[in-house]
């Protein structure tokens, strides 16, 4: 994925999170996570990604 693509996704996520309101953003992100995991179709990769997303939350 190019730098431009990552930026586009970054923006799309930010805008959608704002649109769905703070109350629904968590549900939206959980849905998205399930959906992307299903698309990825690779249990080990998804597990590894879940682990790396958990890193640094407290910083």
């Amino acid at each position: 994925m190019t730098q431009t693509d990552v930026e586009a996704i970054y923006a799309a996520l930010a805008e959608t999170i704002d649109r769905v309101t703070p109350e629904k953003s968590e549900l939206f992100l959980a849905k998205l996570a399930l959906l992307m995991a299903h698309e990825l179709d690779d249990l080990d990769r998804v597990r590894a990604l879940i682990e790396s997303a958990e890193l640094g939350l407290e910083v």
Binding site: E26, L27, A30, K31, A33, L34, L35, H38
Partner: protein
């Protein structure tokens, strides 16, 4: 509970019988029995029938004078139908129960999943049948009453047990007074609150789940097929779950989850139940008249004894385990317990098997219960998620399911399948050449023949299922106590059993596979059968 003005057993559609206590002279003439069974609930009666099937006498003690109140367990699984068939009790069930194969799940009123349970032309019975527990008990009772080998003593409560060298002395109380009854073996089928379990100092161990459900039965003329419906987050119960099942006699089971802050006493008041049920009916678009039959409250537990055996006493059914209703395993699991201990005790008492066979009861049936726990806990966490994380992901799955089928599958309850007794002391080591097909310890899948099914061909006791006439002939006289069942080999049969024409399966009386040989001969089979009955325990 029943509506105001109706007693515990005043049902809209069922007449509870009332059984007398035994005649004092008669009960004094029989003071001992090879087996005593405590509790004539569905499991106690099934255990008595399973023993009678092996020709073993039992006396059944029940403290009440009638069946259990309320419809309680309503879903009877395919494997239980085989047990009932084996005990000669399946006909009234087939006649009256409602078979079903389908479930539908809804999220906020929209259907997100329709699932079909496995069902093919090779299956003699449907995956599931709905019938009220009073009928289950009535039909079992009809079979018990017909048996010369079972004596039932109603209004007879067991107050104490006393172990001695040859058995257990039971202290019995009935309206005529107290007496002692002696049994070589005792089956404690005395239910979830098992007084016998407490008397003997045992405790159920496990987990309690948070969710509480009210289960209410109503009578209404509602036009919907026998399909299990699950409503997630419906209008009538925001944040909660509702289950709807059809039963015979226009009775509908409505289970609805209570919110965490809902007070149980308040929720169980008749007026509250009526309002809650009315809201569910509005959601499913029913606006006709209805009658309230019975209701109760329920919460999901996964609790079991560490050991189902205590000397000469076995715990069978709810006395040994309490399982969540999701996936309808309470009754079905207990029926399999009763069938399991029934044939084993029968074979031991008849001198056909070594006493060590009884050691396989706990590992097999407790193993099955732990398997039920694993599945039911998964369902319970979906039906009543109890942490923020489980709730969020459940809601995400439901919301995603509106547009994506894969997410809807997370709402599939995956109903019970019979447990495989692999590594049990009561099965033989596997044949390494037999790599596919139904495995050691599995419940034999059925197969449709030109006429009837393979299971129709099975005889009493252990069966050797083979597909080759010369093997069948060689075996027919060679092995005592073994019934030889020959079925012609075909490609279609191979598709199910993965068996060659010279393969064979050794089946236990409960239809679980005790041994299998890819290429069988009479000697291997005779040796295997012999070692199974004489030295069970070798496989552990």
């Amino acid at each position: 509970m029943r509506p105001a003005g109706r007693s515990d057993t005043e049902s809209l559609y069922f007449t509870y019988p009332s059984f007398n206590a035994p005649d004092i002279d008669q009960r004094n003439t029989t003071t001992s029995s090879p087996v005593a069974i405590i509790g004539a609930g569905p499991i106690g009666m099934t255990a008595a029938l399973a023993l009678a099937k092996e020709g073993v006498k039992s006396v059944l003690f029940e403290k009440k004078n009638t069946f259990n109140d309320g419809s309680r367990a309503i879903c009877v699984a395919r494997s239980s139908f085989y047990i009932l068939e084996h005990l000669g009790a399946v006909d009234p069930f087939l006649e009256n129960a409602l078979g079903w194969t389908k479930g539908r799940s809804f999220y906020r009123g929209k259907q997100i999943l329709e699932f079909d349970m496995p069902d093919s032309k090779h299956d003699k019975y449907r995956p599931m049948y709905n019938i009220q527990q009073q009928f289950i008990e009535q039909y079992l009772w009809d079979a018990v009453a017909k048996s010369d080998l079972i004596e039932t003593r109603w209004q007879s409560e067991i107050l104490a047990t006393h172990d001695h060298d040859q058995g257990i002395a039971l202290s019995v109380a009935d309206p005529n007074g107290h007496y002692t009854f002696d049994a070589a073996w005792v089956l404690a089928c005395d239910g979830a609150r098992s007084p016998i379990r407490k008397l003997r100092g045992h405790r159920l161990k496990g987990e309690n789940f948070e969710g509480r459900y009210v289960i209410a039965d109503i009578q209404m003329d509602h036009d919907y097929p026998t399909i299990r419906r699950a409503l997630f987050d419906p209008e009538c119960r925001r944040g909660g779950t509702v289950l709807i099942h059809k039963q015979p006699h226009n009775i509908w089971r409505i289970d609805y989850q209570l919110a965490d802050d809902e007070d149980e006493t308040q929720a169980l008041k008749e007026a509250t139940v009526r309002t809650s049920v009315a809201a569910v009916l509005k959601d499913i678009g029913y606006d006709g008249p209805w009658d309230l039959e019975w209701w109760s409250v329920y919460s999901a537990n996964t609790l079991a004894l560490d050991d189902y055996r205590d000397g000469r006493l076995f715990f069978v059914g709810d006395s040994a385990h309490i399982v969540p209703i999701f996936g309808v395993r309470g009754l079905n699991n207990g029926l399999a317990d009763a069938a399991n201990i029934g044939w084993k005790l029968g074979w031991v008492l008849n001198g056909q098997a070594a006493e060590t066979l009884l050691d396989s009861y706990t590992p097999e049936r407790r193993g099955a219960t732990l398997d039920v726990f694993a599945n039911a806990s998964k369902s319970a966490r979906f039906m009543t998620p109890n942490t923020h994380g489980w709730t969020l992901m459940r809601d995400a799955a439901l919301s995603l399911a509106l547009t994506h089928d894969f997410a809807g599958q997370l709402a599939n309850p995956r109903q019970m399948t019979p447990f495989t007794y692999a590594n049990s002391p009561a099965v033989l080591p596997d044949d390494p050449d037999f790599t596919q097909g139904p495995s050691i310890g599995a419940f034999l899948p059925d197969f449709k023949l030109a006429q009837g099914y393979v299971t129709d061909q099975l005889g009493q006791g252990f069966n050797l299922l083979c597909f080759d006439t010369s093997l069948a002939n060689a075996l027919s006289t060679a092995v005592p106590n073994l019934h030889v069942t020959y079925v012609p080999w075909s490609q279609a049969l191979h598709d199910i059993y993965k068996a060659d024409p010279d393969s064979a399966f050794l089946l236990r009386p409960d239809m679980h596979i005790a041994g299998r040989w890819k290429s069988a001969n009479a000697q291997k089979i005779a040796q295997g059968f012999q070692s199974l009955l004489s030295s069970t325990g070798s496989n552990l």
